[in-house]
Structure formats: structure tokens, C-alpha cells
């Protein structure tokens, strides 16, 4: 593993069904301290790749090295030891609905240590202050807006000061103000914690404003990579269509179907 990289994916193949691989020969490196975007169309395999990184799935072929070790070699204790150094923001927050905002953020601290209550209180307030929701500490998740819920989940994911933070579609369903807040928090928290962040998203324009480097995926493969400026000016037809939201391009508007006339039974008449 390279000294300055925190994740290395080498020749990874993966499929839920052996006949239809979702990931095909993926190679990528996530440098330490960077905010890296993995972008592409829905269904291109980027969330599956994120699950390979968090060791929810093991590669069918190839190696995924995360935080210094190959995920394939980890036993249960090793896996949990690795995950204690990671934070994850799920697409819709995945807050525990039976716990208050305060208890949600305190949850990882209570589960992984015998910290005194005063210290837990101070740490929770510190994390909630970082996402601007200290005043909502006693609210229940059902009383929060979508954007607030995402910020609480972000506070929970950084509760143990992780070295690697994973974001699964963090911008989905957010209003412009909440979106701006989340973008700013991702950058600020990454830099202030000295962490590394991986953002999986299809909100390309929004994400290009926050990431340092981008891997672009299509049909289970990395088809382009580079800095945000390089991606914006890419001549690769798929990237160009996707970044600029064009109707015409390698991704057709119509899902494959039989002849339109045959469907309308025009030939018979």
C-alpha cells in the first residue's frame, strides 16, 4: 500500500450474481487527507464500490486495501476495529428513531468506551455545535427536517473522530440552503479532523464544487478520472453528456424495447 493513500482498490471485480458483474476491474487510489468523489449514473456500481470499501462485501476478484489492510484478511474483530476508524453518512441519515438527537450522537461513544457522562455530554455538544444543531439536542429525529436529520447523522458519523468518512448520496432530497450547509460541512470537517472523505453521488455539479479529485464510473468501470476542472472539460462522450445533462449521447433516452410500431400493432392494420 502506498504510504500516502488510505484506500487502494486493485483489479476489483464483484457481482451479486456471478454471471453479471456489477464492478469490473476497478482500480483506484484515495489519497490521505483528500475529498474524493465517485460519480456516475444510478446503477453504475458506485454504491456497491462504497460497500466494498466499508467491507460490507468482499471482492469476487482483486484486492481492497482500506486503512492499511486488505478487507479480505479481516476477521470479525479486525473488521470492527477497522470500522471504528471510519464514519459513514447514509443516504437518508439512518438515525435511530427511538433515540433523541443527543442520544444518537452519543451512541457510538457509549458503545465503544466507558467514558464518564460529563465527558460524553461535552463531546456530543462539540459535535452538534460543529453541525450547528446544539439547540436541537433534545429533539427526536421525527421532529427534524431532512437537512437537519442529515446534519445530525453527520455529527454522529464523526463522533469518534474517524480517519475515513464515507458519504452515500449526501445531497439527495436537500433544499438549496441545506445543500450548501452540507457541502461546507463536508469540506470543513474533513480538513479540521485531518480525515479523508469519499463522496458517492450522482449530483455531479454540486459535488464538483467540494471534491479534490473525481473517479467517474459507468457500467461497473472507471471510465474517467481527474480534478473537477479536468472532468468539466472532459471530451469523453459519457462524462460530457452526464456533466452537462445532455439528452443526446451514449446513454439513450429510451430503455431498450421492441419496435414501437409492433407494440402499437400498426403492422397488422
Amino acid at each position: 500500500m502506498q504510504k500516502d493513500s488510505i484506500v487502494e482498490i486493485e483489479g476489483v471485480w464483484f457481482g451479486y450474481d456471478a454471471a453479471r458483474p456489477v464492478l469490473r476491474d476497478i482500480n483506484l487510489t484515495i489519497p490521505r487527507g483528500a475529498v474524493v468523489g465517485i460519480m456516475g449514473q444510478s446503477g453504475c456500481g458506485k454504491t456497491t464500490l462504497l460497500r466494498i470499501i466499508m467491507a460490507a462485501y468482499l471482492p469476487t476478484r482483486g484486492t481492497a486495501k482500506v486503512l492499511g489492510g486488505a478487507t479480505r484478511d479481516l476477521d470479525r474483530d479486525g473488521l470492527y476495529a477497522m470500522r471504528r476508524k471510519m464514519g459513514m453518512l447514509f443516504q437518508f441519515g439512518a438515525l435511530f428513531t427511538d433515540l433523541s438527537v443527543y442520544e444518537n450522537v452519543a451512541f457510538p461513544m457509549r458503545e465503544h468506551g466507558e467514558l464518564p457522562e460529563e465527558l460524553i455530554h461535552d463531546l456530543v455538544m462539540l459535535k452538534l455545535q460543529a453541525v450547528g444543531l446544539r439547540g436541537a439536542a433534545q429533539r427526536m429525529p421525527t421532529e427534524l427536517s431532512g437537512g437537519m436529520g442529515r446534519r445530525v447523522a453527520l455529527a454522529r458519523s464523526i463522533a469518534l473522530d474517524p480517519r475515513l468518512i464515507l458519504y452515500d448520496e449526501p445531497f439527495t432530497g436537500l433544499d438549496p440552503i441545506s445543500f450548501g450547509v452540507i457541502v461546507r460541512l463536508i469540506r470543513e470537517l474533513n480538513d479540521s479532523l485531518g480525515a479523508t472523505s469519499i463522496i458517492v453521488t450522482h449530483d455531479v455539479q454540486e459535488a464538483l464544487g467540494v471534491v479534490d479529485y473525481v473517479y467517474f464510473m459507468a457500467a461497473g468501470q472507471v471510465i474517467a478520472q481527474g480534478t473537477p476542472d479536468e472532468i468539466r472539460s472532459s471530451s469523453e462522450p459519457f462524462v460530457n453528456q452526464f456533466v452537462n445533462g445532455k439528452l443526446e449521447g451514449p446513454v439513450p433516452f429510451h430503455y431498450p424495447a421492441q419496435d414501437y410500431g409492433a407494440d402499437l400493432e400498426l403492422a397488422a392494420s
Binding site: A56, R83, M88, F92, A94, F96, T97
Partner: protein, 274 residues
């Protein structure tokens, strides 16, 4: 019309294949559920060490089921007394009403009816809660925080249910006896002394009460095991959780009735061989 022999053989083969596939699927699922129970028991350390997690589930499964258990117990006892008196008086044995009510409740109706009510009220709620936690990625979030959801979420609910069920069955029986007293003694006029003293003389601690307790413990394990397994195994969709909840109630009810027959047969045989 003559059906070709090949077609009959083909149809027969298809039916046998479907039957075989169904049986294999049931056996596979039973094996999976057994391995799940083994894993759950082996990872119950958190639920027992941090006992307040289990106590919270005793409240959820047990205390919140109290109203339905107590009210049902009262009415079952009252109906037993009415029906029992009707039959007993024909034989001039109406003073044995207390024995009839108590034995029926302690040996049979208490554990069985409380078990069925427990499956409907608490079992379905446990399945729905765990299933929804899975569908909203709360269990995945725990995994990502290096917290085992079976140890943190499933085990406390399992032990909470196992502890609650015998207590609820005992309260059901006690309430039923009180209902029987209200109808038999207060309403119909059976002698109170005969009602209680005959009950005290006829109900045996080991053969009647302990057998009832054993039944309620077994039903508690069966219902809660089915409930947590169905919730944990539910497809993470609205339809998946809904189907899992229904399966919990149906499977638990059938399991209670089947186990009741097996346990009663074993206990009855045990009584005869003395």
C-alpha cells in the same frame, strides 16, 4: 380424451419438483433460523451485562401488553365460570367450580391464550420494529459503527420477550381466577369457602402450576424467536415488513398450538406413569 402418458409423467414430475423445492426451502429456512438463534444466544453478553437494555424491552413487550392480557384473562375466567357452572350443577358438583376454573387456566388456557395474545401484541411489534430498522438502514448504520445489531438490538428484545411471557401468563391465570370468582361466587352464589378451599386442595404446585410455567416459558422462547428472526430476515421494503409481521403472528400461533399438544402429551404421560 386420452392424455398421453408422457404428459402425465411430466405433470407428475413438475408437481414433485415443486413439492421438493417447497420442502427444501422450509428445511433451509428452519436451519437458518436455528443458526440465527445459536448466534443470538452466543452474543447475548451485551443484553445481560447491560441489563437495562433488556429491562426496557420487558417494559415494551411485557408492561405494554398488560391491559390486553388482564382484560382478556378476566373475561376468559368469567366465561369459564358461567360455562363450568352450567355443566357442574347437572352433576351436583357446582362447588368444584373453583377447581375447574383454576385447573383450566393454570394448565392450559393461561399459557396458550396469553401466548396467542403475546404473539399478536408484542411479537408483531418486535418484528415490525426490527424490520423497519433494517429497511431504514439503522441496522447497517450500527454495523458501520462496529456495533453488532444482533447483540445490541435483537438479543435484548429476545430476552425481554422470554422474561415477559411467563409473567404475563401468570397474570392472565390470576386474573382469570378472579373473573371466575366474580361470576361464580358473587354473581351465581357458589359458596366462597368451597370455591377457594377445593381449588387449594386440588391444584398441585408441581403437576399443575409448574407444568403451566414450563409451557409459558417454551411459548415465550418460540414466539420471541420467531418474531426477532422474521424481523431480522425481512426484505427491507414496506411489503417485506408487512409480510414478515403477518408471518410472525401466523407461525407463532401455529407453533403455540402444536407445542401445546406436544407438551401436554408429555406431561400427561408423565402423570400416568407415577
Amino acid at each position: 380424451m386420452i392424455v398421453p402418458r408422457e404428459k402425465i409423467v411430466q405433470q407428475l414430475r413438475e408437481r414433485l419438483e415443486r413439492l421438493g423445492s417447497r420442502v427444501t426451502s422450509i428445511v433451509w429456512r428452519l436451519g437458518f433460523a436455528s443458526r440465527f438463534l445459536y448466534y443470538l444466544v452466543m452474543h447475548s453478553g451485551t443484553a445481560l451485562r447491560r441489563f437495562r437494555l433488556t429491562v426496557a424491552e420487558v417494559y415494551f413487550a411485557g408492561v405494554l401488553s398488560l391491559v390486553i392480557i388482564l382484560v382478556s384473562g378476566l373475561f376468559v375466567g368469567m366465561v369459564l365460570a358461567l360455562q363450568g357452572y352450567e355443566t357442574l350443577q347437572r352433576f351436583g358438583a357446582s362447588e368444584s367450580l373453583g377447581v375447574l376454573v383454576a385447573l383450566s387456566l393454570v394448565r392450559e388456557l393461561g399459557p396458550v391464550v396469553a401466548g396467542l395474545l403475546f404473539a399478536s401484541r408484542a411479537g408483531s411489534a418486535i418484528t415490525a420494529e426490527i424490520g423497519l430498522m433494517k429497511a431504514t438502514e439503522q441496522l447497517s448504520a450500527m454495523e458501520m459503527m462496529a456495533v453488532d445489531p444482533v447483540a445490541r438490538v435483537v438479543a435484548p428484545r429476545f430476552w425481554g420477550g422470554v422474561i415477559s411471557m411467563p409473567l404475563l401468563a401468570a397474570l392472565f391465570s390470576a386474573m382469570g381466577i378472579f373473573g371466575g370468582y366474580l361470576v361464580g361466587v358473587q354473581l351465581i352464589g357458589v359458596d366462597a369457602g368451597a370455591f377457594w378451599s377445593q381449588m387449594q386442595a386440588a391444584v398441585d404446585l408441581r403437576n399443575d402450576i409448574m407444568n403451566g410455567v414450563i409451557k409459558s416459558v417454551v411459548f415465550g422462547i418460540a414466539v420471541t424467536w420467531i418474531a426477532v428472526f422474521e424481523g431480522y430476515d425481512a426484505p427491507p421494503t414496506a411489503e417485506g415488513v408487512s409480510r414478515a409481521t403477518t408471518r410472525t403472528v401466523v407461525t407463532s400461533s401455529l407453533a403455540i398450538l402444536a407445542l401445546d399438544f406436544v407438551l401436554t402429551a408429555l406431561m400427561f404421560t408423565g402423570g400416568n406413569t407415577k
